[in-house]
Symmetry: C2
Subunit: 334 residues, 2 copies
C-alpha cells in the first residue's frame, strides 16, 4: 500500500499553477507504539494556505519546498498501536494533502460523526465557523439594528458571519461575485441585501442604496477595491474585523489603495486583523455555541465537495476563481 501525497514543488509567483504542486508516492511506515494509521476522508482547502506557499514571515510557518502541503484533514483510524484511539475512530488533524498518515497520539483528536457530519468539523464547527464566530463577535461586536456588511459573503467564513449577525439582530448586507451566490444569500440565508460586485459598475452607489444608515461593522474577507468602497461608508465608531484579503494573495506587486488613516480618524473607527488561532483557548465555547445554533435551526451551512484526491490542487485554485459556495472540501476516499 502506497501513500499518495501532494508536495510543494516550487513557490508560486502570482497564481499557483501546475509547477507549484507535485504528486508523489511513498511507502507507509509500520506503526510504533502510540501511533495510529489514518486514512484521509476529507481534505480542507483554504485561502490562507496561499500565504504559506511563499517564504515570508507570517502567523504560520511557510510550507517547505519538497514537503507535503499541510492543512486541516479528517480521516479514519484504520490501524492503531495507541490506547487512546481504536480502529474506526474518526479524527481531525493538520496532516493535509495525503491519503494516509501515521500520527502520534497528540497530533490528531477524535471527532464524533454522530453529533454532526464529519465534514462539518472542517467547516461550520471547525476553523472557518470559529473564524466567523470570534471575528464577528469579539471584534465586530454587532448590535441589534446595526448594519453589517460582509465581503466574500458566500464563502465558508462569510456565510457564517452573515448568519451570526442576523442572530444578533443586525441588518446584513452581503457582497459576492455570482448570481448563484447572490441567490443563495438571499434565499437560503435570508440576507437583507446583497451586492454582486461583478455585475455592478458602481459598488459605492450600491452600498449607499443598500446601507442607507451607513456601515457599523464591515467583516473584511477580500481587501482591495471592494474594501476601499465599504470603508468609505463607515459610521462613527465602526468596527472592521480584517479576516482575509483574498484579492491580494496572488498579486506580484505591492497592493496600492487609498490610505485608511483619515477615515479611521474621522469615524473613530477600528480595524483589527485576526486569525482564529488567537482564540484557541475558547474553541470549545465557540464550537458548542455554533453546534447549538445548528440544532436550533438558526444556522445553516453549505459545502462544496469535490471528489477524488487528484482534484485537490484544482479545488484549491477554485478558491481564487470564486467558484465555491460555502466551505470547499475534497472527499478523497472514493
Amino acid at each position: 500500500m502506497k501513500n499518495k501525497q501532494i508536495i510543494l514543488a516550487e513557490r508560486p509567483t502570482g497564481m499557483p499553477d501546475e509547477h507549484t504542486f507535485k504528486f508523489v508516492e511513498e511507502d507507509i511506515l509500520s506503526l510504533t507504539d502510540g501511533q495510529v494509521l489514518i486514512q484521509t476522508h476529507y481534505v480542507s482547502v483554504d485561502p490562507y494556505m496561499r500565504g504559506r506557499m511563499i517564504d515570508a514571515e507570517s502567523y504560520v510557518e511557510p510550507f517547505k519546498v519538497g514537503e507535503v502541503i499541510e492543512g486541516g484533514s479528517i480521516g479514519e483510524v484504520i490501524e492503531s498501536k495507541s490506547s487512546v484511539f481504536e480502529k474506526g475512530d474518526m479524527v481531525i488533524g493538520g496532516f493535509g494533502w495525503q491519503q494516509y498518515y501515521v500520527a502520534g497520539e497528540k497530533e490528531v483528536r477524535k471527532i464524533d460523526p454522530k453529533l454532526a457530519p464529519a465534514s462539518t468539523y472542517l467547516g461550520i464547527l471547525g476553523m472557518t465557523g470559529l473564524t466567523a464566530y470570534f471575528g464577528l463577535l469579539e471584534i465586530g461586536k454587532p448590535k441589534a439594528g446595526e448594519t453589517i456588511v460582509v465581503s466574500g459573503a458566500a464563502g465558508a467564513v462569510g456565510s457564517v458571519v452573515g448568519q451570526i449577525a442576523k442572530i444578533q439582530g443586525a441588518r446584513v448586507v452581503g457582497i459576492a461575485g455570482s448570481e448563484e451566490k447572490i441567490k443563495f444569500l438571499k434565499e437560503e440565508l435570508d440576507f437583507d441585501e446583497v451586492i454582486n460586485y461583478k455585475t455592478t459598475d458602481d459598488i459605492s452607489a450600491e452600498l449607499r442604496k443598500t446601507c442607507p444608515d451607513g456601515v457599523d461593522v464591515y467583516f473584511d474577507n477580500v481587501g482591495g477595491a471592494i474594501s476601499d468602497a465599504v470603508l468609505n461608508q463607515l459610521n462613527r465608531l465602526a468596527r472592521v474585523p480584517v479576516c482575509g484579503a483574498i484579492s491580494s494573495y496572488n498579486l506580484t506587486e505591492i497592493d496600492y489603495g487609498p490610505r485608511v488613516q483619515s477615515i479611521l480618524i474621522k469615524k473613530s473607527a477600528l480595524m483589527q486583523g485576526f486569525t482564529v488561532g488567537n482564540y484557541a483557548n475558547r474553541f470549545q465555547e465557540g464550537a458548542s455555541q455554533l453546534g447549538q445554533w445548528l440544532q436550533e435551526g438558526k444556522l445553516t451551512y453549505q459545502e462544496t465537495i469535490k471528489t477524488g484526491f487528484d482534484t485537490i490542487p484544482e479545488a484549491f485554485l477554485d478558491l481564487f476563481r470564486g467558484n465555491n459556495i460555502g466551505k470547499l472540501l475534497v472527499k478523497v476516499n472514493q
Copy 2:
C-alpha cells in the same frame, strides 16, 4: 473699542493661503445678564482645524465661510454680568481667533493660573495632552519593555505620547523632521532613539536599526509614507492609535499607499482612529494625572509661542511646515 477677528474668507484647496483668511473688525455688543466680556490672551492653532475648513462631514462641524475661526482660546474676564464669573477670572473656551468675546456662562470655564500657567490649559493639561493620554493608554496600551514608535514626535501630542510611554516603562522611538527637534527629543525628553525622516534616505532601515525587536505600538500623527514604513515593522498583536494624518491634510488628490489589510491579518494588529472628544467624560481624570506627573517632574512640556494677533494665520500654517516644537500658541494681548 473694536473686536478684531479672523474669519474664513474662502475654503482652501491644498495649503491655505492669503485668500483663506480675512481680518475684520466689529463693535463689541453690550453685555446682557449672565454674560461676560473676555479679552483673549492665548489662541491655539491645531492641525485638526484644517479639516474644519472644508465642507465635508467629519467629527466636528465645518467652519462656515464668513464666520470667525473657532478653536481653543484662553482669556480674561474684563467685564461681568454673571454671578459665576468675576472680573479678572481666567477662562478657557472655543471662542477662537478673535480679540474679544461676549460669552454666556456655559460657553467658557474657569482655569486656575496658580496651579499651572494659563497656556498649559490649551496644551499639556488641555486638548493635546489629553489626546496623547487617552490615545496612548486606551488604545496603544504600552507595556513595560515594549517598543513604541511615535511620529510627529516633537509636536504637541507626540512629545507627550513619548513621555507617557517612558513613564509606562516602554522603549520610545521618535520620528521628527529637524535636527532641532531630534535634539529636543533626545536631550530634553530622553527618548531612546530618534529618526530624522528628512535626512534619512531609508526610513525602513532606520526603523529596523532603532527597533531591533519590532514595533509594539505605533502612535500615528502623520499618515503617509512614514506610517507605511512603520506599519511594515509591526509586531504580532501590535496596536496603532491613529491620531492624525497631517501629511494628507492639504492634499488635493486621493492619498494612495500600500493597503494595510495583509499586515493587519499577518500580525493580528489593530488600528483605531480616535479623537479626544471620545473621552470627554474622563477629561478630569486625564488632566489630574497629567498634572500630577508634571508636579512630580516625570513629565515636561514645550511651547512655541508666537506673539501678536496678526500672526495667527502664519502660526497656523507653520504647523504644516513643521516649524514648531511642542504646543504652538499665539499670545495675542501684548
